[in-house]
């Protein structure tokens, strides 16, 4: 059995993680293939929760599949679609299935998704979700009622080192760490300087930071540029290069970011996303100098 993500976090090694989307439908074959390909290469595999507010299969099913295949899953849980009752209920279901790594996020606004008339819930926020999950670990629900059994969660949160202004973001990150986040997954990083500054702030909290690396592709340059990808702030010079790039070049650029982040020695690992092109995650890692078992 692979090492648990919690053990990997404590190991001190440079951590390799990635995220995939659950299928838009009932067919788990693509997800199964991705899990097989990434087995032994990633320390944990995230599964997004209705990414960009577009309706997909609930991530727990893919997380469960990953577990069965011997890959540590990180289940993303967004506050956008469920109230505090449903969130706790789903967290308990996940815990009962052995899904222990939970990434607590607010969730992109419904405006970005495919159900634009849906009501954004946001009953509780990501800080509260961390606190609630911590409570479930301690065997109690949000109201303090005792549970039968308790969750063995390893909790994570999102942060954006490139948010502007950064100060309010850092105040919130501090709250997330206090609420129980033991790892942070950042939004895609493009500036090592900003990552350095971010690390200077959060390193005091002892939290592990996985820097986000995103595969950028030419067909989405207009979306990156006009803000249709929330939290993704691609510098204009990179957009210019991506516009004229083929997939090999796009992969190489993402891999180059992996190398830069690793060689900077600032954070504890990376988190690769390649929305719509998950098949190249392995290539990004290989080109970025990360092989199975490294």
């Amino acid at each position: 059995m692979a090492k648990s993500f919690q053990e990997a976090l404590a190991s001190g090694k440079f951590l390799v993680t990635a995220s995939i989307d659950a299928p838009k439908g009932t067919d788990l074959e693509d997800a199964a293939r991705m899990i097989d390909r990434l087995k032994g290469v990633v320390d944990a595999l995230g599964v997004s929760d209705n990414p960009y507010a577009a309706m997909h299969m609930s991530p727990w099913a893919v997380c469960r599949l990953a577990l069965e295949k011997g890959v540590e899953p990180i289940m993303h849980v967004a506050c956008r679609d469920r109230n505090r009752i449903a969130l706790q209920s789903d967290l308990l279901a996940a815990a009962s299935q052995g899904i222990n790594n939970i990434l607590c996020v607010s969730g992109d606004h419904v405006k970005f998704g495919d159900h634009g008339d849906a009501k954004p819930v946001h009953d509780i926020d990501s800080v509260h979700l961390l606190e609630v999950s911590k409570g479930l670990k301690e065997g109690k629900d949000m109201t303090g009622s005792a549970l039968t059994g308790s969750a063995a969660f390893c909790l994570g949160a999102a942060a954006n080192p490139e948010a502007d202004p950064i100060e309010p973001q850092l105040i919130k990150v501090d709250k997330k760490i206090r609420a129980g986040a033991s790892f942070l997954v950042t939004h895609p990083v493009f500036s090592i300087e900003k990552l350095k500054s971010f690390m200077g702030h959060v390193s005091r909290g002892g939290v592990k930071v996985l820097a986000g690396v995103r595969l950028l592709v030419p067909e989405k340059v207009a979306q990156y540029r006009d803000g249709r990808c929330p939290g993704l702030f691609v510098p204009e010079d990179i957009l210019g290069q991506i516009e004229a790039a083929d997939m090999a070049k796009c992969t190489e650029m993402a891999a180059s970011m992996v190398k830069s982040i690793k060689s900077a020695g600032l954070c504890h690992g990376i988190h690769i996303t390649a929305s719509g092109h998950e098949a190249v995650i392995l290539d990004i890692l290989k080109t970025g100098g990360i092989e199975a078992g490294t």
Binding site: A158, A179, P230
Partner: protein, 225 residues
């Protein structure tokens, strides 16, 4: 105040279709100030409806009346001193949703239809511009957030700080709109209360926001209990 917007004319036309006598009932308070349903707007709507019906060779009598407030029985009851309500096939109320309902309650044997879509509680930013400022959540956080409401101004209603989408101080869902938490951060810093933002705010108590809400003033409690 309550901000409302007139329904699309086609929708109103469809709503009143077939009626021979229509009373358009204006409201002289919030919706008059926001230029949606006061005396002048009732006059415009009446003219539009008359022209539209005339073009279709439909004959209908359309009267206009604007009262002080449609959210208060006292004013609604005055209507009967000015017109004979039973003469009309329907009342087209250009009040907010609350006003439409109270008119419908008072004249519960009549068809009462809304001419407006009620949109938000807001303030006037300048001539003809209003912005939403309050979600009437019954659990006000303004004391902690420098007088800027994250429940209203942040599209996700986040109470502990911004999401990761803030860019140049603007909101991820609309680059024209300010990020609520950038505004709050700047305001708290300005008034030397940044420590308020560093404290984790508990989940909001939506139990206090159960609807339909009812509020009885302390001084009147004995009368209604």
């Amino acid at each position: 105040m309550i901000i409302a917007k007139r329904k699309p004319f086609n929708e109103i036309e469809e709503l009143v279709s077939g009626a021979k006598k229509i009373l358009i009932l204006g409201c002289g308070t919030c919706v008059a100030v926001c230029l949606a349903g006061g005396e002048k707007e009732v006059a415009v709507l009446a003219s539009q409806l008359k022209m539209a019906l005339a073009l279709k060779d439909q004959d209908a009598k359309i009267d206009e009346l604007t009262i002080e407030r449609q959210c208060d029985r006292e004013f609604i009851e005055e209507i009967t001193q000015k017109v004979i309500v039973d003469d009309y096939d329907l009342i087209l109320s250009s009040a907010c949703g609350a006003g439409v309902q109270l008119v419908s309650d008072v004249f519960d044997h009549k068809v009462v239809l809304p001419a407006l879509n009620t949109t938000f509680i807001g303030v006037a930013e300048g001539p003809g511009v209003w912005t939403e400022r309050c979600r009437s959540c019954s659990d006000c956080v303004l004391a902690e957030t420098g007088g800027i409401c994250p429940v209203t101004i942040c599209p996700k209603g986040l109470v502990n700080g911004p999401c990761g989408g803030t860019r140049h101080g603007k909101c991820e869902i609309d680059p024209e709109k300010d990020c609520a938490w950038t505004l709050i951060y700047n305001r708290l810093k300005k008034i030397d209360r940044l420590g308020r933002m560093e404290q984790t705010r508990p989940p909001k108590k939506y139990g206090a926001d159960q609807f339909p809400a009812r509020l009885v003033h302390e001084a009147y409690r004995r009368r209604y209990e």
